[in-house]
Symmetry: C2
Subunit: 354 residues, 2 copies
Amino acid sequence: MATIFDIAKKAGVSITTVSRALNGYSDVNEKTRQHIMAIAEELNYYPSAAARSLQGKKTNTIAFAPLLNQHVEAEPFFKEFTGVMALACFKHDLSLLVALVDTTRNVEEIYRELAGTGRVDGIVLSDIKPVDERINLLLRLGIPFVAFGRTTGYADLNYPFVDVDGVAGLETVVDYLYKKGHRRLAYLSGPLEMSYAFHRYEGFLRGLKSHELHEDKRLVIGNLQLPEQAYAAIKQIFSLPAAEQPTALVAGSDDLALHVIQAVSDNGREVGSGPDQIAVTGFDDLPFAAYLQPGLTTLRQPITTTCTALLELLVGMLKNKDELAPVLPELPGMVRVGPKQVLLIPELICRESA
Amino acid sequence: MATIFDIAKKAGVSITTVSRALNGYSDVNEKTRQHIMAIAEELNYYPSAAARSLQGKKTNTIAFAPLLNQHVEAEPFFKEFTGVMALACFKHDLSLLVALVDTTRNVEEIYRELAGTGRVDGIVLSDIKPVDERINLLLRLGIPFVAFGRTTGYADLNYPFVDVDGVAGLETVVDYLYKKGHRRLAYLSGPLEMSYAFHRYEGFLRGLKSHELHEDKRLVIGNLQLPEQAYAAIKQIFSLPAAEQPTALVAGSDDLALHVIQAVSDNGREVGSGPDQIAVTGFDDLPFAAYLQPGLTTLRQPITTTCTALLELLVGMLKNKDELAPVLPELPGMVRVGPKQVLLIPELICRESA
DNA sequence: CTTGACTTCCGAAACGTTTTGGGTAATAAT
DNA sequence: ATTATTACCCAAAACGTTTCGGAAGTCAAG
């Protein structure tokens, strides 16, 4: 690999001049610059990223560091999000470092390493928990980051985040179902140690309240992750006395809804929006939601917009090291809840399942 | 951030000793080592990745560098593959740098940069073309890489690759359809400037030949990418005289099959394996294939196995800088076609669409 | 007492950049 | 003719590691 020295020697100038020529400084003669550039080209020169970042220069790389939950392999949302993120990074001329975080190891250590080794300029956090130590850690270390999702304490939301408003989303769903005549709703929740699940559940409760329905604890099942668990939950619900059974099953994610739909028909019932059918809703609007039979009524997560906003925020922070709020463009469905805090409203996609 | 100097000062030893202690060299007293480690811990020390790689050390990062085709945003396979790859890297204790390659720019330059800047130890190439300059480039530069996919010239397959055998796959499909009584098959191909599409088409032709069917050029449509194109192709096929219409539509990917299914029912025909129905098959077995109505009969790409094999190959090469072939464990459905060349046989998944 | 072999440590160079703080010569202003 | 100014260039330090080639001390063998 050619280095700056090789160029300097061949061009008969100092390495300083080469460096400054290549980086577009004004104190180098246009002719010398041309000459140097030509030689660099000829030698297939590319500056060593390592050497540059040792000088404190940007790496133009950001890390996406989701937690590795046990069953991430099956997590379609993770794959979808990562893909879109890669694309968004590309558009910002950034490289994306995907670094899954093993939660069985010391999480703090991992983030410290990610940040401390200087391989990335900033970090996109995800899988935020109601109380998340990582945020304070990064804040304390002064590492630029944005969170996809948010903690649940309303007091200390003093860090940059973009979140899809699960509360508003589930209120919408409940409202929709109520208007369709449903009065007994069951809720199947994902892991409640995650903020997103927590918020969605809260939205469900609020939805009930606003229509003066009361929560039936037997119809609320939390912390579902695996298909088997969803199956068991549905079976249990269907074993209730007929009058107490729900007419609608609200799932906290498309993934869950998928299993719910299976379980419902396994129990000899039919999913759909008709009178004798069981309504089922999801959350995410992953690609498969449209292809399910019946099509899944669900809330669409604006993944592309989310990634755009996250990156806009992050690169803004990287540019203005000072505390100026980055200029975040107005995006569709966006609610600004702070200078660097954004909520996106999920859109209800009505199909045949509810 | 704490550096090796800080530790050295605090421990009252030289930086050399600190470095060697931390890296487990034997020429440092066990007591001193403990002491140094304790201080490192206390100071939250992490070695600078930049400085290390400047010394020629590994970065423990590999790049996944797929080509950015115009509609990659819609490419479900890309997302699926990237997600699985991230997971596989995690298991190998590697970080994954996702670097989409803009084909409208100078591709050579991009790879050169990726390799030359020393940010990664190796590269996973994908979207291989029948004749692919990137391979010779990397070979020439001496950058460790493995290809997902392969070129079509059988002469120069002297680079490490893992490919899913599209030829064998489509032979299987044609055979399957033939046995079900189909005699007139249409083929809808993806972009033929890609090896994978090329191989699948070749497999289709071989399948025909082995059953002494002949290719009807009007039933073969190549280079399909967008949904509209698939629609148009189907419409055109259905405008043929009844006797000349196909009874089975073989698609080069699940993505295409999806559009094909839509188009078929839009033309008032029904997809399925029954006598008056049109059979449709795909390739990939993406998650949604199971949820389509009817379920898509398709070839399953063993993505996880593919990623495992790719990484096994790559890390093998990184370890043994010498030309020893890496020990690649025997994997299910694997055909070794060379010391560092592997084909994986896709499995036919029979559902209701054919 | 000398020699050789360990053990434990360290100084200095090297990796490839960027940046700081100049210097020199030519040109313009006084 | 002297002083500023400008245009162009460079030496050296700095970034944080690893590694090479010893060096000093200890200990056992000869």
